[in-house]
Symmetry: C2
Subunit: 338 residues, 2 copies
DNA sequence: CTGAAAGCGCTTACAG
DNA sequence: CTGAAAGCGCTTACAG
């Protein structure tokens, strides 16, 4: 059986196809009784408006595209647990707003930048990424040039293109460091990237530095070790770190790094938190169940997802939108020593 | 600046719009040189074929819809970690096949069953769910009646509608139980649903029973306690359980149940695995990091996601497809006692 | 190999 | 309040 069209409904209802279209979109131009009759027939026939036709005519798709792009160097765990929780709230918020959501994982190297928008499959884009920022900044600029509406998770910064929703990483780094200081820790190390390729991690580091300075400690003495946000990298970096010196506190730029860090320390029979206190960042699901449970900084991913959607919808509506900075929250658990 | 259309390209290339369309879809009917010229212009203009128009004309969307429906009673952790890993591989496989993916979380109560297909937004559906099977069986039947192509994660069963990809839950239950028997455990309990509403969990239970019988133990003596697949429910059920009797082995129908189970036991100062060995099911990410690390049965979610996509694409191609049963794998960790 | 034309199923000005 | 008609931007028989 072929799918019913609005003409079929019109025929059965004894009205014109225009009237059917109006009735089903709840236009006030239609007589109440006519509308009810048409709706009833539509339901019986299991009729649904063809989105391709209606989108084509209306020149909008009522669809958002979520582009998740990962660093190709990431391991095979496939998807960063931090973004998973965001994905959930983005999906919910999109559905609640009456939009559909296209999801795509992008490789940073792909020519992804505007396919969904250019091909009219989506009205706007939401970007989540944790690859090198310097590598994809250029693509963001292209999106702006093409006047494509998008929101992204990231560090708000006037220099950087696009409307962002982000967490106050500086403050988060500050809070974590202050917490460690209050516990009497004095010799700090930082594991993670601190260059421009990772503005979020860099801000956490700067927050850490600031807290040290504000508490009369020299930030010169902090031991730094680079690591990307995967467990193995945290492990390797920590081994390097403890060959150089043994701090009494390690602030890791992410929970995944912290997991690797603690694994390295435990292997070398260094006790966490007794010998070294460790703090992570992100509050991923695992962190609570780790041994020892990980002290970390939580970013409100639920709010973040909702706001990314909300801001994008405002932009599609030609309303003014500005960057949003969410407050991070310190989650104190065993790994920092209480 | 308005978006370019195929007519604009045609004008610039000095050919007809038909030729542009053919060239961009790599039709062999177009002269190589003409094709190259057209493609070059299209690229310069950042032209992308309008999917709404092309889908409307072709009557297919090159899009799959992933419907994730949860039991409304589930807690606010938003999304079952087990399906998350599947989501990742489904996304990848869909992209690789040149399809787009619409993602939607559905509530079991919603009238979701065919919206995406009926409205021509998707060519086929992939269903992931862990609500009560008896409640949504009816909707699956409706999908079949409407001749809508879909694959779903679930227990293969001739009685049940739709093409499934599933894991051999009977075997998984059997393996887990045999493992516990080999460790010398004799008094078994099972925590989880065993009725028709959860065919997967039921099969795990039946596998457990079979292993007991095959090893000369009476399955009559097994202590059963109902629980749905959330942590709290596992916790509550376990408290009830140990008020009735203290087994030396508990087989939990899922990892989430097992986490709650262990929490309850530890609170009552019952040692895991010394006093009671606990085994879960699913091998969710957390299970490895739990204290003690959880012995569990792994379902290959990566393969599962790929196969769900692959089978659906075969169906869209009118090819014969049959249910697929994946082999589960026992993951031995500390919670069972080694 | 190329072009003119029909038509996919809608929405929405326009006219009444 | 309703209908006839145009047109969204493509793909693809049909004719050459």
């Amino acid at each position: 059986m072929k799918k019913a069209t609005s003409f079929d409904i019109a025929h059965m209802a004894g009205v014109s196809q225009s009237t059917v279209s109006r009735a089903l979109s709840d236009s006030p131009l239609v007589n109440q009784e006519t509308r009810d009759r048409i709706k009833k027939i539509a339901e019986e026939l299991n009729y649904k408006v063809d989105k391709n036709a209606s989108n084509l005519r209306k020149q909008r798709s009522q669809t958002l595209a979520l582009l998740l792009f990962e660093d190709p160097t990431s391991d095979d765990s496939l998807i960063n647990p931090f973004f998973i929780s965001m994905l959930a709230s983005i999906t919910k918020a999109t559905t609640e707003a009456g939009y559909d959501l296209l999801v795509s994982f992008q490789n940073l190297n792909d020519d992804w930048h505007a396919v969904y928008k250019d091909s009219s499959k989506a009205d706007g884009l939401i970007l989540l990424g944790y690859g090198s920022y310097t590598e994809y900044e250029h693509k963001l600029e292209q999106l702006e040039e093409q006047d494509i509406r998008f929101t992204r998770w990231g560090a708000p910064d006037l220099k950087h293109p696009g409307i962002t929703v982000g967490s106050d990483n500086f403050k988060g780094g500050y809070m974590a460091t202050e917490h460690l200081l209050q516990l009497g820790r004095k010799n700090f190390a930082f594991v993670g990237l601190t260059d421009d390729s990772a503005p979020e991690l860099q801000a956490r580091f700067l927050g850490c530095i600031a807290a040290l300075e504000d508490n009369g400690l020299s930030s010169e003495d902090i031991i730094k070790e680079d690591a990307i946000s995967i467990e193995n990298s945290g492990y390797d970096a920590t081994l390097n770190l403890i060959n150089r010196a043994i701090p009494d506190a390690i602030f890791c730029a992410s929970d995944l790094i912290a997991l690797g860090c603690i694994r390295a320390l435990q292997e070398r029979e260094i006790k966490v938190p007794e010998d070294i206190a460790v703090v992570g960042y992100d509050n991923i699901q695992i962190s609570e169940f780790f041994t020892p449970p990980l002290t970390t900084v939580s970013q409100n991913t639920i709010d973040a997802g909702e706001l990314l959607v909300k801001n994008l919808l405002l932009m599609l509506n030609d309303e003014e939108v500005s960057d949003i900075l969410l407050k991070p929250e310190l989650i104190v658990r065993k790994s920092s020593g209480n």
